[in-house]
């Protein structure tokens, strides 16, 4: 990119393909990986060679081979089976946490902004309060208060990422509130809630969807970090973070058991970020690159 690029004629319009539809090759790659992960999660019981929990103490720390495609871990459990079942847990918790953040963040922000000045101020203060604690720490404190397990982890990760949705929704709502169509709806006697959900929400949706694409991989990572800390989903649930936590203690003898979930996590988060960035560029061309 040069400092002052001369304005050139727009490139000739090409036939839309799947690649251009999602915003270019990087995000097409992202889409492929995400689709693969979702496929594994859905068909985990069919793909798995063995029961993910079945221990075989005679075949511990086996390297990858024909019997176990990705080897076995320190308890002789099949790594590949745990990986595809782990995809289930990690993706499900990720989506659920995202949903909590989206509904609570966007919903509360919308209601607070619509309700008037003081609710809005109180809500802003609440969001600022949450933002003063850096992500992991907030989630840690919340998990402690809510206890460990799947539902508390979903709630904790959701609440940790709530501020971003709240900020985006509040600012978009404030901008839209000054727009002509909202004022004319007010004049016509529409209630605040009706304006919020019927008139403004469709305009906020685009921003929320692109933000969701960026937040989802972070939710998945946060779940893994919590599980790695021993505060995540219960020990008998195979999530990627739990696998990483287990395998990291035996990394010398069974590096494959650590490598598999780590690579799965890295690839999935990278793919989701690329896909999210592509979608964002496609649907929100004003903001060109990944924004925080």
């Amino acid at each position: 990119m040069t400092e002052a690029a001369p304005r050139t004629a727009p490139p000739p319009r090409r036939e839309p393909t799947l690649v251009t539809a999602v915003g270019g090759w990087p995000s097409a790659f992202g889409l492929a990986i995400v689709a693969l992960a979702v496929f594994c999660a859905i068909f985990a019981p069919l793909l798995a060679q063995a029961d993910p929990q079945a221990q075989n103490l005679l075949a511990r720390n086996r390297p990858p081979g024909a019997a176990a495609w990705l080897g076995t871990d320190h308890l002789g459990r099949d790594v590949f089976s745990r990986l595809v079942h782990g995809a289930r847990v990690s993706l499900a918790v990720g989506f659920a946490g995202l949903l909590v953040a989206l509904v609570l963040g966007a919903g509360l922000a919308g209601l607070a902004v619509a309700a008037g000045r003081w609710p809005r101020r109180a809500f802003t203060a609440f969001v600022d309060l949450l933002r003063a604690l850096p992500g992991v720490l907030l989630a840690l404190v919340l998990v402690v208060a809510l206890g460990s397990g799947t539902v508390p982890v979903i709630l904790a990760t959701g609440i940790s990422f709530l501020p971003m949705f709240a900020v985006v929704t509040a600012s978009t709502y404030e901008r839209e509130a000054r727009a002509g169509y909202v004022r004319s709806a007010l004049v016509l006697g529409a209630g605040r809630l009706r304006i919020l959900f019927v008139h403004v929400l469709p305009n906020v949706l685009g921003a929320l969807v692109t933000l969701s694409a960026i937040i989802l991989p972070r939710v998945i990572t946060l779940e893994s970090v919590l599980s790695f800390f021993g505060l995540g989903v219960s020990p008998d649930t195979p999530s990627w973070g739990r696998m990483i936590a287990d395998a990291s203690r035996f990394a010398e003898r069974a590096p494959h058991a650590l490598a598999a979930p780590t690579l799965a996590l890295v690839l999935t988060t990278l793919a989701m970020a690329l896909l999210g960035d592509g979608l964002r560029r496609r649907f929100d061309p004003l903001r060109r690159s990944l924004a925080r």
Partner: protein
């Protein structure tokens, strides 16, 4: 001087607001860690041989049977004088434990920050001095890297590759590797906004005038453009610090560094209220203070910024 008075008043209001936040956070954490069923006495009971009578006695000794509000007021009064109580598990003053852990964390933070600033600023400046496609590609790559690949994954990947596979370095206590992980994350966060701002400043009239005078590109960027863009770094400092602290918790545990992050996790696992409380409040306060300072500083050096 008259113009600086309202500014001071704004600063006062800002500080008051942040002080309120710190009190609110303390109260929230205070309540949150105590609503959990199972306290430190239960934890000790499971661990050792503390019978029911001994547990009740210990609870009374530690003041855990008193009303929450009284406990909080008591804690607040002591905290203001720098006394965060004693760890329930180790019977050691919390301040001493934190002071010991702070050393490791500060080392990690300083080294990460240095790596992040040097890499981030150098790359952004280089891409401005020599506008090449691959340099800007590198800027974007670093930016995407820090956004798309969390420090947790980078750290794990580093351990897998260099410690376990290649056996080049040990994992535990590896400060440089830990700092590299966080440093690259910071670099990725600052390189893109800084590059954008440098690009914008390059088009400013004073830069054009300097270029017309024949100032060579490197000198132009370093002397005329970069100082102008330093406000971006100040504006990002809150974000950087949050990334630093958030990253430090994960990375410290990952690399087995005995810092505040490891301490916090240990305290949370052991239901050690005073320690959890102190760590969270101190970290939150430091983030709030840095945010307030950066806002004030920004307002001071750049009057175009919105009022506080």
């Amino acid at each position: 001087m008259s113009a600086s008075w309202p500014r001071l008043r704004d600063l006062g209001a800002l500080l008051l607001r942040h002080a309120g936040f710190i009190v609110a956070i303390s109260a929230c954490v205070f309540v949150l860690v105590r609503v959990v069923p199972g306290d430190v006495v239960d934890f000790l009971g499971v661990q050792g041989d503390l019978d029911a009578a001994g547990q009740a006695k210990l609870r009374q000794e530690l003041g855990l049977d008193r009303p929450l509000v009284l406990q909080f007021l008591d804690w607040g009064a002591r905290a203001l004088s720098g006394d965060f109580g004693r760890s329930l598990r180790f019977r050691e003053p919390v301040v001493a434990m934190m002071a010991r852990a702070a050393g490791a964390t500060l080392q990690l933070a300083a080294l990460s920050l240095a790596i992040g600033l040097v890499v981030g600023v150098a790359l952004a400046v280089a891409a401005t001095i020599w506008p090449r496609r691959w340099l800007d590609g590198l800027v974007d790559a670093l930016n995407v890297w820090s956004i798309a690949i969390p420090t947790f994954c980078v750290g794990l990947g580093l351990i897998l590759l260099f410690s376990i596979w290649l056996r080049w370095m040990p994992v535990l206590g590896n400060l440089p590797a830990a700092a590299l992980v966080i440093g690259l994350d910071i670099a990725g966060q600052i390189v893109k906004p800084l590059r954008e701002d440098l690009r914008e400043t390059m088009a400013a009239s004073h830069v054009r005038a300097a270029r017309a005078r024949g100032v060579p590109p490197a000198r132009l960027v370093l002397r005329h453009v970069l100082p102008h863009s330093l406000s971006v770094l100040i504006a990002l400092s809150g974000l950087i610090l949050a990334g630093l602290i958030g990253g430090a918790v994960t990375v410290e545990v990952l690399f087995g560094l005995p810092g505040i992050g490891s301490l916090a996790l240990d305290a949370i696992r052991g239901r050690d209220y005073p320690l959890v409380q102190a760590v969270v409040v101190v970290l939150a306060a430091s983030i709030l203070i840095v945010n307030a300072l950066s806002q004030a500083l920004l307002r001071l050096i750049d009057p175009r910024e919105a009022p506080l």
